[in-house]
Amino acid sequence: MSWVILSEEMGTAVLSRFVDTIPECTVAVVGGQGEAAVRTIQYVGDTTLTGIERREVFVDAKYATTADLLTTAGEKEIAANVGTVIEMQFADSLGCVYGEDFILGDIVTVDAGIYGKYDIEVVSAEINYTADKRDIIIVLGSEGTNIVRMIKDVSKNNPILRV
């Protein structure tokens, strides 16, 4: 747990949006060099997952000449699918100031109420200046993930969500 805690209960931030999505890939099947039946295949991820939690994706990595490169390719695919994004309205206070106590890239703790607690990375901050203060909308999630992209991905799979 980080010492920076964004929490409605503690009065440090207000949860304005919480998006939690099932990852599209939990087991990467990475194809390396070779053709047809002799092609190298490596499984990356938790291969003991079963049922709907096991979500297989094929990764074409013909360039990979070693087992480590195959693993890296698979891990990259899995990491790109982490699916929690939290948006919080934050106001500087005596105890915690954005830019001093935490900045982009820091892992902070978010108490999202009924959705649980997350140690999660700060990926963007929209700062709105008013006469005597500034309001900040902080987006937290995994690297390479943001709400817009996530919503687009979900909309692609669920056309009813398209706007």
């Binding site: 207000v14 949860l15 304005s16 949006r17 919480f18 998006v19 939690d20 999505t21 099932i22 099947v29 194809g31 053709e35 047809a36 039946a37 002799v38 092609r39 295949i41 291969t47 003991t48 997952l49 079963t50 049922g51 709907i52 939690e53 096991r54 979500r55 297989e56 994706v57 094929f58 699916g83 009924i114 959705y115 919503i151 979900v154 799979n157 669920n158 056309p159 009813i160 969500l161």
Partner: protein, 260 residues
Amino acid sequence: MTLDYDTDRYDAGGSSTTPTRKLPPSHLLDYDTGSYDAGGFSTTPPRVLPASYLITAPEIRICDEDYIPRIVLDGYKNLTYTERHRNRDSWSFEVSRHSVYAQYLIKGRIIHYVTGSSVYALIIKQIDATRDTITVSGNEYADDLLSARIALVNVQDGVGADEIQDSAETAFRHYVNGNIIEATDTYRRDPFLTLEPVDYGRGETVTISARFENLLDLCETIGSLGSIGWRSVVVDDDTKPWGWKIVMSVVEGNDLGEVV
């Protein structure tokens, strides 16, 4: 529920209230105007809709961690369910963030969607909560399960592909069976999904070679080439601790142009 093989429908045990749809007697149908002629007794035919048109809100039952549907969701709004013949059904609805049910709406949970006499299993794939509203969305469970598998049978044997030339239904069942239901790697199986017991060999003959394709994409291709689709319904199964299973069936559309 038992399967009536004459109608390809699951019989809910005589409790269905949906009457059989019948065409009106031919002498009452005015083909020029497309309206019904009441036979001289009235010039204004009463507007009669079949009982199946009577709309009742679907019931949503949230399963607990043991997959037992225990909680009936009350107070949802803006429910949208999109059925697809050869792809994933998708759905969404909204509840108040202050609803007592919000704590049970968790990604990965299964919900039972009860409409008429049919029950469908859905998977919660996304929770999108704003300050006042939670939008819950996802796909039909079996459809989503297809998208969660790739064709891995025989990829390291022989020609390195899983090939079949047969009716579309047989091909569809072959890939679902090999990659999920009786997959060699038992972790690839699913505790809920079953196939309809009988292969009727429906659809046109297709020739398919599969190697690492996403199973949903593969089934969509088979469906398009062979003119079939699929549906999945929940039926009772007392052999399961949670008391239900999903039966996936191939369906063919009817050429309604031949009725007249």
